[in-house]
């Protein structure tokens, strides 16, 4: 077997430059430094942005099998199916339009009332539809790549929605694409409030796509199974009032300070093909300090308010 390998003709007897060992150790050290800097600071964000832009063709290529499969199945759909789908969509559009007409009036009324109350909370209106071009294949990270980037005014930390609720937020915006972290990522946390009782808390991702965890809710607080959790708008990153998750299980162990609560995201985390990027005007009063990361540091900032409705 060995004879088939090429002779190392051009291997110098006395190699110049660093030895293999020295290079390997240096590169490992460099990796550790990169990891540390990337974990602790945002200093590497510009480098990541440039590299993500440069590797955009790779993302497109990697998504090619699934996009072409979707295109093929799409173009082979029968006329009958399409007609049915079209009819159903028209019916839905009619219903939604009827609802929207009422919404417009309510929206206007809401705006007037808020002006009267001198409240700074505004309903955001501008959204952009983006397509998911890649799903992160690390099973331990819930991240997606979108086909909209800095060129479409996407910014780091921008909220991401689908038709049913909050999906996640943009992590890094590159020139023509951006990566986003989903709310189910184990490293993500989102400030929420119970739509029924108003109890505020933070919902953490668990790494499972159908489960969020609410670890800091006191046993006695007003939470029930089936309650809807909506974004509280605290922290200034997500607009307030969007559905996030539905409480699925509550276990109150009175020996423990906190109840064990799990919730199921209302957004269709694994099924969405198209998502909405929302332009959210920062709440000037609430987030006078700079908008922090939605990760643990932000959660820690929210902790003092926990459990107080």
């Amino acid at each position: 077997m060995a004879t088939a390998y090429p002779q190392n003709d051009d291997k110098p007897l006395f190699p110049r430059g660093l030895s293999l060992n020295a290079r390997a150790i240096l590169l490992c050290l460099l990796s550790v430094i990169l990891l540390g800097v990337d974990q602790r600071t945002d200093q590497l964000q510009p480098i990541r942005r440039v590299l993500s832009t440069a590797t955009y063709p790779l993302d497109i290529l990697a998504a090619l099998p699934s996009t072409s499969w979707r295109w093929m199945t799409g173009s082979l759909t029968s006329r009958n199916n399409l007609q049915n789908e079209n009819r159903e969509l028209k019916r839905q559009l009619l219903l939604q339009n009827a609802r929207l007409q009422r919404m417009d009036a309510l929206d206007e009324e809401n705006r007037r009332l808020r002006e009267l109350m001198k409240s700074s909370t505004r309903l955001q209106s501008e959204v952009l539809v983006a397509e998911i071009i890649a799903v992160d294949m690390d099973p331990y990270r819930h991240a997606i790549t979108l086909n909209k980037g800095l060129a479409h005014k996407v910014y780091d930390g921008q909220p991401l929605l689908d038709a049913y609720g909050v999906l996640g937020q943009v992590d890094t915006a590159a020139a023509m694409s951006s990566t986003a972290v989903l709310i189910t990522d184990a490293n993500h946390a989102i400030p929420v409030t119970n739509n029924r009782s108003g109890v505020r808390t933070v919902a953490y991702g668990t790494g499972q796509s159908n489960r969020l965890s609410l670890p800091h809710v006191p046993n006695h607080s007003d939470m029930d199974e089936g309650d809807l959790l909506v974004t509280s708008g605290l922290g200034g990153r997500f607009p307030a009032g969007y559905p996030v998750a539905m409480i699925t299980s509550i276990q109150r162990d009175y020996g423990q300070p906190f109840a064990s609560i799990h919730a199921k995201p209302t957004a269709h985390v694994t099924e969405s093909r198209h998502v909405l990027l929302a332009w959210h005007e920062h709440l000037d009063e609430l987030s006078s300090d700079e908008p922090t990361d939605e990760t643990t540091s932000e959660a820690a900032a929210d902790k003092p308010a926990l459990g107080r409705p």
């Binding site: 077997m1 060995a2 990891l35 993500s52 890649a134 331990y140 184990a186 490293n187 790494g207």
Partner: protein, 168 residues
């Protein structure tokens, strides 16, 4: 000196890019229904890097392994440097002992590749544990098995690529 043919290098880099794409490409829908909650996807970049490190140690070395690890970090969206340590260590070991590894029978080589894959997955496990993103530890270890099983198929393929295209 037997340079009958012009030395080519592009198949080496092409195979590494294909390995990168195979790592990145989303699994088809049927995979999720067939194997729910099991991560059977092999780590592709490590065995391909291992092959080139033992076949052409003067061409492919730790520096390039580090670069491809960084590419994987950027495209997969993790921390920069997450994949580089495991890859650099694997290529380093491959290059230290490339003469021995070339003599190994295929099964024994597969075990070496499996151990190197285990080392890389452990490094990922430690990094993710230290940065607090660890969720399901089993997902780190199942790819080691599939990567080991992949080697007896991958090795002849890469060997064919190298000899028929005269990669030096």
């Amino acid at each position: 000196m037997k340079h009958h043919q012009e030395a080519r290098q592009w198949p080496l880099w092409a195979s590494l890019f294909v390995a990168l794409l195979l790592t990145l490409t989303p699994a088809p829908d049927w995979y999720g229904t067939l194997f729910p909650e099991v991560n059977l996807r092999p780590v592709w970049l490590l065995p391909v890097s291992f092959y080139w490190a033992i076949a052409l140690p003067q061409r492919f070395s730790v520096g390039y392994a580090w670069l491809f690890g960084l590419l994987l970090d950027v495209t997969s969206g993790g921390l920069l440097g997450r994949h580089t340590i495991g890859l650099v260590l694997a290529v380093w070991i491959a290059q230290r002992f490339y003469l021995q590894f070339r003599q190994f029978p295929l099964g024994q080589q597969a075990i070496v590749v499996g151990l190197l894959a285990l080392m890389q997955q452990l490094s990922l496990l430690w990094i993710d544990g230290a940065t607090g993103v660890l969720s399901q530890p089993m997902h780190y270890f199942t790819p080691v098995i599939t990567t080991t099983l992949l080697w007896p198929l991958l090795f002849p393929l890469l060997r064919k690529l190298r000899t028929s295209l005269h990669v030096r």
